[in-house]
Amino acid sequence: MNNTPLIETKDLSVHYPLRGKLFGPQPVVRAVEKVSVKIAAGSFFGLVGESGSGKTTFGRALLRAAPITYGTIRYDDGEVSYDLEKVDKNDLREYRKRAQLIFQDPYAALSPRMTVRDIIAEPLQVMGLTKSREETDARVREIAEKCRLNLEHLRRFPHAFSGGQRQRISIARALVSAPKFIVADESVAALDVSIQADVLNLLKAIQQDMGLTFLFISHDLSVVAHTCDHVAVMYLGRLVETAPTRALFAQPKHPYTRALLSAIPSLDPDDRGNAQRLEGEIPSPTNPPPGCKFQTRCPNAVDHCRQVEPVLEQAGDNHEVSCHRWKELLDLGGTPA
């Protein structure tokens, strides 16, 4: 893996207008607010957060499927490069071949009226990537094999398949245009554990095989810990911490990351009840608290946190954290749970 970023965002923000007042400034929801990340080429980049954290919106913004209010996104795969916040139509069409999305729900994502072959071939036809039916068929078979789909099944309709098989079909469709960048949004969340492991292993194998870069969006920290090289944690539209996976799990520095980790139910029946509990719930993004967005639930919040919003600071090798008190808390023995 080299370290040139495939995608680099600077202060990326996505705001949605709320039903407007007649006079005065239009109220907005800051779904994503000033997020700056570098996604290294060939990496498996994890993005975690609870519902309402803005992780899905961020992923969509990178695909230019959400409106960008301000900030920049730079895409550079060595062959072409774009400033995604201002690309024109033609470049955007080209970019869509290089960036694809795998959805969460394999039952909703596949048309029940199309055969598996047609589902996988559709992007090729829409983007005009193949010239003849033979070429399309060859490409579909090649990618279906990579995704461990039975070639006999290409003539069937999706209803005949289980959740795991359907997700493999979705993956094949995303890969058929030979993209460089994949956004996988909760791609294993709807699957049973025994199948989930299979799909995760497949994604990892394909990523290494085809040299892809993944943005892996998930609410499940243990899945992220096992698949991703680098993790970013979002809370209420803000990036709160980002670090290489090992560093993040060995020593989470933001109180929210720590709480999130300790909330995962341990498989050890004797390891009960010593977890640090967060009180309350994630505030509404239409009415975020002043200062640090996490202060309403943070066990370590002080007056300063309630007034001034922290910015990302360097907290180690490739490790950034957005908390006023991270150093102090570390010295106080804010050990990971």
């Binding site: 609870e50 519902s51 289980s162 959740g163 795991g164 098989q165 049973d192 554990v193 025994s194 199948i195 989930q196 492991a197 299979d198 995760l200 292993n201 609410h219 499940d220 920290l221 243990s222 899945v223 810990a225 096992h226 996976t245 090992r246 799990f249 709480a259 999130l260 980790l261 909330a263 995962i264 139910p265 341990s266 498989l267 050890d268 029946p269 004797d270 009960r272 009840g273 977890a275 509990r277 967060l278 009180e279 719930e281 994630i282």
Partner: protein, 330 residues
């Protein structure tokens, strides 16, 4: 502790257009007062249907087996299988047994305030008057950690956040003081930090009210943190059961072992994720013999596909149904 629930030889089939489908096959378990039992399995394993059978909540095309017997021991023993009709079942539904569902948004009526729904069920199941029922409902809402309970009491379900809805659901389920609570994936739709809160709450309430809980989930971590004992289901059959420590630390059935190996663990990031090979067979094509043999890597050719394995005791508190498990035949 005293025996609260006996489920014996529960078999349940559904009549469908494609034929009769077996959803639950000869499932037996017991529950003591004050005990939390985890019922674990993947989609299609029959765990929800098993739990619903305890309240006879399955749709009308459900056919119960002849040997099926479900007995609830409260002041007297209630034999549930012979009960028919909503009037006869009123004793258990919402009275002696309450249920919490996965999606609280779908379980509350959208156009009736939370308070009115809570009061209504109290008036049906107890002899409280409206004033008493209102007082108790507000008290229960406060008890489950909802701040400003009197205001929330008047609100509608869409005005509450996800975690708060699930708390309100729990408050409503517990206000009739049920002896048995059936919780069907109560934390699955919640974020982890909220899930942790709800699990703590449920454990506190069991300690306080002393009821028994059947806790349905697919998450073994939640089981380890919540339950006293656990029963693992696969394709309608119980394949392993025992105390949580026994089953999670010393799994015997290849399927339980497979589930644990497939789980990403935070204490060992280098451990590979080992999937259970293959897919769950369609209920229309139930395997003969051991239901798991089609995906089992250690199946004995000829034997596992022909003979249904019986439960053998691994220890006094642990048993598994697999031909490869050595133990005392129970």
């Amino acid at each position: 502790m005293s025996r609260l629930l006996d489920v014996d030889h529960l078999t349940l089939q559904f009549d469908t257009d494609e034929g009769r489908i077996t959803a639950v096959d000869d499932v037996s378990f017991t529950l003591e007062t004050g005990e939390i039992m985890g019922l674990v399995g993947e989609s299609g394993s029959g765990k929800s249907v098993t739990a619903k059978s305890i309240m006879k909540l399955n749709p009308s095309n459900a056919v119960y087996g002849d040997e099926t017997s479900i007995k609830l021991h409260i002041d007297k023993t209630i034999d549930i299988m012979p009960l028919h009709g909503s009037r006869a079942l009123k004793v258990i539904r919402g009275g002696a047994i309450s249920m919490i569902f996965q999606e609280p948004m779908a379980s509350f009526a959208p156009a009736i305030s939370i308070g009115n729904q809570m009061v209504e069920q109290l008036q049906i199941h107890t002899d409280m008057n409206k004033k008493q029922a209102t007082e108790l409902s507000i008290e229960m809402l406060a008890r489950v950690g909802i701040s400003d309970a009197a205001t929330r009491f008047k609100q509608f379900v869409f005005e509450l956040s996800g975690g708060m809805r699930q708390r309100a659901m729990i408050a409503m389920a517990l206000s009739t003081k049920p002896k048995l609570l059936i919780a069907d994936e109560p934390t699955t739709a919640l974020d982890v930090t909220i899930q942790a809160q709800v699990i703590d709450l449920m454990k506190d309430l069991v300690a306080e009210f002393g009821m028994g809980i059947v806790f349905i989930t697919h998450d073994l971590g939640v089981v380890a943190q919540t339950c006293d004992k656990v029963a693992v289901m696969y394709l309608g059959r119980l394949i392993e059961q025992g105390s949580v420590r026994d089953v999670i630390r010393n799994p015997q059935h290849p399927y339980t072992k497979g589930l644990l190996a497939a789980l990403p663990r935070l204490d060992d990031l280098d451990a590979p994720l080992v999937p259970v090979p293959g897919d769950i067979p369609s209920p229309l094509e139930r395997p003969t013999g051991c239901v798991f043999h089609t995906r089992c890597s250690v199946a004995i050719a000829g034997r596992c596909s022909a003979d249904i394995p019986q439960f053998v005791n691994v220890s006094d508190t642990h048993s598994a149904a697999c031909h490869l498990v050595e133990g005392r035949v129970s």
